[in-house]
């Protein structure tokens, strides 16, 4: 299972296990959209168990963040390792997302 969905208070947390790539991005998208349709508005995507994100994976995060914002919510990113953080910085997506060092930090104030 690549994506584990859990709740922390009123925040939906999605753990990405392994990779977020062109081959599984639709699965993540559908899980988040299902939660959004169910009324959830606060999301944290936790990458502490993630080895690799490709451009399609980055793209789906951008797309989901936009949809969530349109519904008055927020999507935060947590626990990027050094390589993944570099990908966000290279693509300047670190300016688009709130990126927290840990899940707890991401949950704070959300």
């Amino acid at each position: 299972m690549a994506f584990q969905v859990s709740k922390s208070g009123d925040v939906t947390v999605i753990d990405v296990e392994g990779q977020l790539i062109v081959g599984n991005r639709q699965e993540l998208k559908q899980k988040v959209l299902d939660e959004l349709e169910g009324g959830e508005r606060k999301f944290v995507v936790d990458f502490s168990s993630t080895g690799y994100i490709d451009s399609s994976g980055l793209g789906v995060l951008v797309s989901l963040s936009k949809k969530i914002r349109e519904q008055g919510g927020e999507l935060r990113i947590a626990s990027l390792n050094e390589d993944l953080r570099t990908l966000f910085e290279l693509t300047k997506l670190d300016t688009l997302f709130k990126i927290a060092d840990s899940r707890d930090e991401a949950l704070t104030g959300l």
Binding site: S56, L58, V60, T91, K92, L96
Partner: protein, 147 residues
């Protein structure tokens, strides 16, 4: 340590992960450059395969993608060729510009160019050659960034 690999892949995005892992296993002799290979080369090759399947071959399941990899002591080279009619990579806008950052797509070629030492397209635009140098002092991921 010279090695050459040739793969013919179905035009199926689910084959990318396995193909990249297979290629990476054949680069394991270059362990001194593990980070460059595991990130720069992995990302570059994955993006080239995605572009070939999604845009070059336009998701056509009847088409194929050819991958030719050469692993040498001083560099790793991968040529990815699709069966599409090609495109002009210079027309892809810079995804890091403020007006483009919130667009869901357009980061694949940028990542390839940022993470590889050289990226060459053929004239037709349906084949890309990625070169990653494995030399002392050659840039790692952060140093190779051209954003």
């Amino acid at each position: 340590m010279d090695q050459e690999l040739i793969l013919e892949l179905p035009n199926d995005i689910h084959s990318i992960e396995h193909a990249v892992e297979y290629v990476m296993e054949h680069c394991s002799g270059c362990c001194a450059y593990a980070r460059k290979l595991n990130l720069n080369f992995r990302v570059g090759l994955s993006e080239a395969l995605s572009n070939a399947m999604l845009y070059g071959n336009n998701r056509d399941p009847g088409k194929r993608v050819r991958v030719e990899v050469t692993v040498r002591e001083e560099q790793v080279t991968a040529r990815v060729t699709d069966q599409g009619s090609g495109f002009d990579h210079t027309l892809v806008p810079d995804p890091t510009l403020p007006g483009n950052r919130s667009k869901p797509g357009g980061r694949g070629i940028f990542l390839m160019k940022s993470l590889m030492d050289e990226v060459q397209f053929n004239e037709e635009g349906n084949s890309v050659t990625l070169i990653l140098r494995l030399e002392e002092g050659s840039p790692d991921l952060a140093g190779g960034a051209s954003a």
